[in-house]
């Protein structure tokens, strides 16, 4: 018998009301982003949310146009929600288990943009390559 066959089912669909507060927090962050350029991050795992809360939150935020998959030591996924600049970020480990989850309020999540040091070393590699090719 495989693990999922063991019928342990906890009744966890109930809403605690905590998710409602998360939406308010996102609203504040979004407002801040427009005014000061500073966004922010909400740590979903750090909040006392039931699985039902999480699903409710996902439904409320909806789905936007962008979905980014990253292959960085296990898969990660960045989803734009129906609200521009509000991103849903999921990190999985190499075994595919969800290890952390965030809502980030930013024009572009910084995880996407390349780091100048990396760009620099990339440029160096490219120069070397071009030198090799020529």
């Amino acid at each position: 018998m495989a693990l999922p066959d063991i019928p342990v089912v906890a009744e966890t669909g109930a809403l605690t009301g905590n998710a409602r507060a998360v939406l308010g927090e996102v609203e504040t962050l979004l407002d801040g982003l427009l005014r000061t350029g500073e966004g922010g991050i909400v740590d979903i795992r750090g909040l006392p949310l039931s699985p039902g809360d999480r699903i409710w939150l996902l439904e409320q935020l909806g789905k936007g146009e962008v979905e980014i998959h990253l292959d960085i030591g296990g898969r990660s996924r960045i989803l734009e929600t129906a609200y521009p600049a509000v991103w849903w970020i999921e990190h999985c480990d190499e075994g595919g288990h969800l290890i952390s989850e965030f809502i980030q309020v930013a024009y572009v999540p910084e995880l996407i943009s390349a780091h100048p040091d990396d760009v620099e070393s990339g440029l160096e590699h490219l120069r070397n390559r071009n030198a090799d090719l020529s």
């Binding site: 693990l3 063991i6 019928p7 342990v8 089912v9 906890a10 009744e11 966890t12 109930a14 922010g40 991050i41 909400v42 740590d43 795992r45 750090g46 990253l70 960085i72 030591g73 990660s76 990190h91 480990d93 190499e94 075994g95 288990h97 969800l98 290890i99 952390s100 965030f102 910084e110 995880l111 780091h115 040091d117 990396d118």
Partner: protein, 363 residues
Amino acid sequence: MSDNRILETLAGQGISRRAFLKYCATLASLMALPPSAGKAFAEALAKAPRPSVIWLPFQECTGCTESITRSHSPSIEGMIFDMISLDYQETLMAAAGHQAEAALHEAMERNMGKYILIVDGSVPLGLDGAYSCIAGRSNLEMLKEVAQGAAAIVAMGSCAAYGGLPKANPNPTGAVAVSDVIKDKPIVNIPGCPPIPAVITGVLAHYLTFGSLPELDHLGRPKSFYGETIHDRCYRRPFYDQGKFAKTFDDEGARKGWCLFELGCKGPVTYNACASVKWNGGTSWPVESGHGCLGCSEPDFWDAGSFYKALSMPANPLKLAAGAAVAGAVAGIAISVSNKARKGAAKTGHETTTLADLEKHHE
């Protein structure tokens, strides 16, 4: 080795900056730090030199080492091996014998005052420490020597933190915790049997990023991991509140995932992060697998009554009750016999009252 920066080491193992950022964010989340700490971790750790770590295994079962080395790289737990320069660990190092001892002393000298000492296992004091020796020297002697040059000590696992199973009643080897021996160095206890691997990563990340140890509770445990009980974070908690309890391990309640309190779960008195961090790469944890918490991250959990007795039940069978009941009956009968005699004497001594006897004095 320890001159290398952490990020360089990681890059050498094919871990990208983005992957590193991801793990730092996750680490901050695990430590219940604000999300911004993830970024601080990443920036500081990227530039930080890998600290020299000396790992001394004492009177132990190697379970703690297993727990950490079995974690899959580059999982969050496994990051520890990428973050540190592990200069001495008998179980893991290729070197042996005199070579190993030489490595130890070389690392100590080179990083005097800066290295981190990780200890797993308890320190036996009985027979002058003869119960556990390495290279002919007792654990006690070795601990005292190596601790001298350490910047901080991490007591990993319940044995190092509290004395562990070896200290279980009647403690034949005289086992004690690291903190019982070393009094002049900062010590972080990471109890658990075994402890959660991510905790040690978190503690080191904190140390490297902020230059200090994380906030500790009164038992020397990082509050960020040991701040709440298993019970508080347990997904089965709602059943406890509703009064729904599994009565056996295979009844209807057990199948429905009801609370395991009555089956002896020690979750309410156990401070640890199992319920949120989970085990085996987040697969599951004891309560999720259907077994109550044993309370392994609490001092002396092995002597705290049966694992399968509810917390509210007597830890041991009542031995005095029957004797006390008999003693009570004896006391009661003794006093009642004496009372009867007294009352009888009062009756026998009764002098019939006549009118004159109503007055105190003849007038």
